[in-house]
């Protein structure tokens, strides 16, 4: 026991590579773009033109930026789903399914007629409730039977997908256009903020939700308990925290976010305000949210910015396709590389050899901080042998 302190005590640095979290995320984003450029060059596209088109399309003018924010809206919310559960110590992969269910709940409200005002609120609330209920099933399986939430939420995504397809084609279909659902009536739509773009009030709903999550998780006793249980479940138990409750709570909050994401999308996306068969517009919003959460460091405020970045990639992708002739799929290459790059710090943690190598690399390009002077500078062997010893100690402990 005594030995382990040598590693834990001086760990004042914030992240695994010793860089600040913001810088780490920015580097991952940059690396993603860089790989995208290389891939484009290999396939004979003009990467420079593509990048210019991507960024000017996303952030170059007001309309483009508005579209970027619109694309960011559902990602922001599904990222919160993932982030809240990570803070509680769990991996909720189920935002995708929860989003489908929330979307259809919002559509289903159209079967009854509601006055404006009530119509929007009823849809948003119902979508949150349905999203939460859908996520509560895996959560209950976890706390009562110990079923891994990773497996069950993935399975629930598929159940949700086929259930959604069934509902779209058989129950909620539009009698005039059978390939899509009935449209949200005027009384239930979220007002658009700018003509000719898809940016609606939904963006502010998402921001508001992120702020609520921030205050709940960082400023209330419930959030304190969620984070404690996520960081150290045994200490949380010692502190009188019921970890079942924190799990259920975080899944409920997460499910609400995912349901809200679906509702904001369908209620605020012109021109059809409806869901098409095959769910093309909804597919992957939940999974992409996980990437957004990673880049945003699972923090609501960070997620707001990273969602706008990813939203920009998606919105700018259209411009890239149009102006530079690069397929939209290139955006997915960039997305994927960013996710991989975000995993590098974790990789460094797992492999002490890589860690010492990267440390040496980093220390050769920038002056060492006082905080990580664990090994003697100037002795090239010391960090390697310390790495070995660490590994062995961990095995021994």
């Amino acid at each position: 026991m005594r030995h382990r302190r040598a590693q834990t005590a001086p760990a004042r640095r914030r992240t695994l590579t010793g860089l600040s979290p913001v810088l780490e995320s920015a580097l991952a984003g940059l690396l993603g773009l860089l790989v995208g450029v290389v891939v484009m060059a290999i396939y004979g596209y003009n990467p420079w033109a593509a990048i210019v088109a991507l960024f000017s399309g996303a952030y170059g003018n007001a309309a483009g930026f508005a579209n970027a924010l619109a694309k960011a809206t559902p990602l922001l919310l599904t990222a919160l789903t993932f982030a809240i559960c990570v803070r509680a110590g769990m991996f909720n992969i189920g935002a995708e399914g929860q989003l489908f269910m929330g979307t259809l709940a919002a559509v289903a409200v159209s079967l009854v007629t509601l006055p404006p005002g009530i119509g929007q609120i009823a849809r948003l609330v119902l979508a949150m409730v349905v999203g939460a209920l859908w996520s509560l099933v895996p959560a209950l399986l976890k706390v009562t039977r110990g079923v891994s939430e990773v497996i069950s939420t993935i399975m629930f995504n598929w159940i949700a997908r086929w259930l959604a397809l069934y509902l779209v084609l058989n129950i909620l279909f539009d009698p005039l256009r059978a390939e899509k659902t009935i449209s949200i009536p005027m009384s239930g739509r979220l007002p658009l903020l700018m003509g000719k773009t898809t940016l609606s009030v939904g963006f502010f709903v998402a921001i508001a939700f992120a702020l609520v999550v921030y205050f709940v998780v960082w400023h209330t006793v419930v959030g304190y308990e969620i984070r404690a249980a996520g960081l150290n479940p045994t200490a949380a138990k010692y502190g009188g925290i019921n970890s079942r409750r924190t799990m259920l709570l975080s899944f409920t909050l997460g499910g609400m976010a995912a349901g809200l994401a679906g509702a904001c999308y369908v209620m605020g996306t012109p021109p059809t305000y409806s869901v098409f068969a095959g769910l093309p517009e909804l597919t992957n919003l939940g999974f992409d949210g996980m990437a957004v959460a990673m880049v945003g460091r699972n923090h609501p405020i960070g997620i707001i910015f990273s969602a706008i970045f990813f939203g920009g990639l998606n919105a700018g992708g259209r411009a890239m396709q149009l102006r530079a002739g690069v397929p939209l799929d290139m955006v997915r290459v960039v997305n994927g590389t960013i996710v991989l790059a975000m995993a590098i710090p974790e990789l460094i943690r797992i492999l002490p050899m890589v860690k010492s190598g990267v440390r040496r690399m980093i220390s050769s390009v920038r002056p060492r901080r006082g905080a990580d002077s664990g090994d003697t500078p100037g002795d090239p062997d010391s960090s390697t042998s310390r790495g070995d010893a660490t590994q062995e100690k961990e095995r021994g402990a």
């Binding site: 302190r5 209330t220 006793v221």
Partner: protein
């Protein structure tokens, strides 16, 4: 003696020889201090010492797991330096750790093959199998080779570990507390094996804290205490009492004054029956199971009164942890009763127990006591986070009051930190412990359950925490103190219980025991034997 002469000497008599070996850990802990030790071929060497005496660290240095800070290891072939356990294995030194390093889903043969090149080629596996069969025949270490090791009993798993090391044809076998996981019958089998290996010319180092074992199987015994070698004796020439004395030793010079002072005061209060307050904790026939479902606490009954320190001494792993965890609401009891001021606590969750006036200083500060990535402020309200003082309207945390609370704790208990928002993991061990103790004492408890409250701390911090406990006792609080540090128990307790295998083998006032007798009782001698 010069090194060259040393080398000659080792060639003549020693298989391996440590000269002035010292280990200082990164945090400044002196774990092994200038130990000189030789290991002869064909002998079983017992290594005796209390928890934290440095036995494991010393042997880890011999087996290449840790580099020594100072000193060297000599062999007949000259100075040896092991950069890794693999190099030590190639040299002929193998260690069997207290916690096995086996892959649960692999068979014994696969586990043994794992350390070699191309472990899963058919050739290698067949080779390993035939080698193992031969080894099993020679050594009598019978284990099924084709069953996943997780399905084997603990004793069998240990045999796989030993086979793993023997298959590398080692000359020196180091066993770290090998008997702690074995039943008495399995212990006998293991010792018979060790004797056969010795007769075959191998050297064996047996690490233990059990006196009976060490005197029954070894030829020579070295005793470590607080990192120093305090005895190197032939087994035949010493009695168990002498060994117990060596192991627990005299009170360290630095703490002598304070400890005596405390002890005197304790005794004064202890003899004054009037001053012992009302019964606070009342435990009847409590039985608790451990992690592996074995009975860890057996039908234990005792009371702790206000204004007294009830000290539980014993070697770790004899049920103390399980006892404390069940009283703290962290581990269910099998049967029995425990009440605090008449209210049942078994089956209640920790928060309900704290509401009855219990403060719990847990044994493991990193696993239980603190959320290390949390700040000081966040850790300072762990367990009391729902008090009105800290959590207001809609459950919003009252950050200003929490900060004020931490600042008060930092002032009162001398916690050195950069501020209330410093992460708890940036604190030294002593300051982390002060934070926990401070937080618990600030609850104004009726009873303090303190498990190993000073473990791993420097003398100053340890002494301060002891003084805090005595101060609480003076205020009439009940204190249940569990410690593996005998000096601490003797200095602080009004009554002492010695725990062995889940039972109290003796309860009495400190004056009724002498050190050697406690050492014997801790090692499992019966009361009659010890008297």
């Amino acid at each position: 003696m010069s090194i060259r002469e040393d080398v000659k000497a080792t060639r003549a008599e020693y298989f391996l020889c440590a000269r002035g070996i010292t280990k200082v850990y990164g945090d400044g802990t002196l774990a092994v201090d200038d130990v000189t030790l030789d290991v002869r071929p064909g002998e079983i060497l017992g290594m005796l010492g209390e928890n934290g005496a440095g036995k494991t660290t010393l042997t880890k240095m011999l087996s290449g797991l840790l580099p020594p800070t100072r000193g060297q290891v000599l062999s007949p072939r000259g100075i040896v330096r092991f950069a890794s356990p693999r190099e030590a294995l190639d040299f002929g030194i193998g260690m069997v750790h207290q916690h096995f390093a086996l892959v649960g889903t692999f068979t014994a043969a696969e586990n043994v093959a794992l350390g070699h090149e191309h472990p899963f080629s058919r050739v290698r596996l067949e080779q390993t199998r035939s080698q193992l069969e031969k080894l099993i025949e020679e050594s009598g270490l019978h284990v099924p080779l084709d069953v996943p090791v997780e399905k084997l009993a603990v004793g069998e798993q240990q045999r796989v570990e030993i086979l793993k090391v023997l298959s590398r044809n080692v000359s020196l076998l180091i066993l770290d507390e090998p008997t702690s996981v074995l039943t008495p019958v399995e212990v006998d089998v293991l010792f018979a094996l060790l004797r056969r290996l010795r007769d075959a010319g191998k050297s064996i180092i047996l690490i233990t804290h059990k006196l009976r074992e060490v005197s029954s199987v070894t030829e020579r015994i070295v005793v470590l205490r607080r990192g120093r070698l305090v005895g190197d004796v032939t087994t035949r020439s010493v009695t168990r009492d002498q060994l117990a004395q060596l192991m627990v030793g005299e009170t360290a010079a630095q703490t002598v004054g304070a400890a005596i002072e405390l002890a005197e005061e304790t005794q004064l209060l202890g003899q004054d029956e009037e001053r012992t307050g009302p019964g606070i904790l009342h435990v009847t026939e409590l039985t608790v199971k451990g992690d592996t479902r074995e009975v860890a606490v057996r039908d234990l009954s005792f009371d702790v009164h206000g204004g007294e320190v009830f000290g539980i001494a014993g070697v770790e792993g004899n049920g103390q942890s399980e006892l404390v965890e069940s009283l703290g609401g962290l581990r269910p009891a099998v049967h029995g009763r425990a009440t605090i001021r008449g209210v049942d606590i078994l089956g209640k969750d920790p928060r309900q127990i704290y509401q009855l006036g219990v403060a719990h200083v847990p044994e493991d500060r990193w696993k239980l006591g603190l959320v290390l990535p949390f700040t000081l402020a966040e850790n300072a309200i762990l367990g009391i986070q729902r008090w009105k003082e800290f959590c207001g309207f809609l459950g919003f945390l009252r950050k200003r009051r929490i900060t004020a609370h931490v600042r008060q704790l930092m002032d009162r208990f001398g916690i050195q930190a950069t501020g209330p928002n410093a992460p708890a993991k940036s604190l030294s061990g002593g300051n982390q412990q002060k934070l926990i103790v401070g937080r618990e004492l600030a609850k104004d408890p009726a009873i303090i359950i303190a498990a190993q409250p000073t473990r791993g701390l420097d003398i100053g911090a340890a002494q301060y925490i002891r003084e805090l406990l005595v101060e609480m006792r003076r205020k009439g609080r009940a204190i249940l103190l569990v410690s593996a540090d005998l000096d601490e128990i003797l200095a602080l307790s009004d009554r002492i219980a010695i725990m062995y295998e889940g039972r109290f083998v003796a309860i009495g006032r400190p004056s009724e025991f002498d050190r050697a007798r406690i050492g014997l009782l801790m090692g499992g001698a019966s009361v009659k034997e010890a008297a």
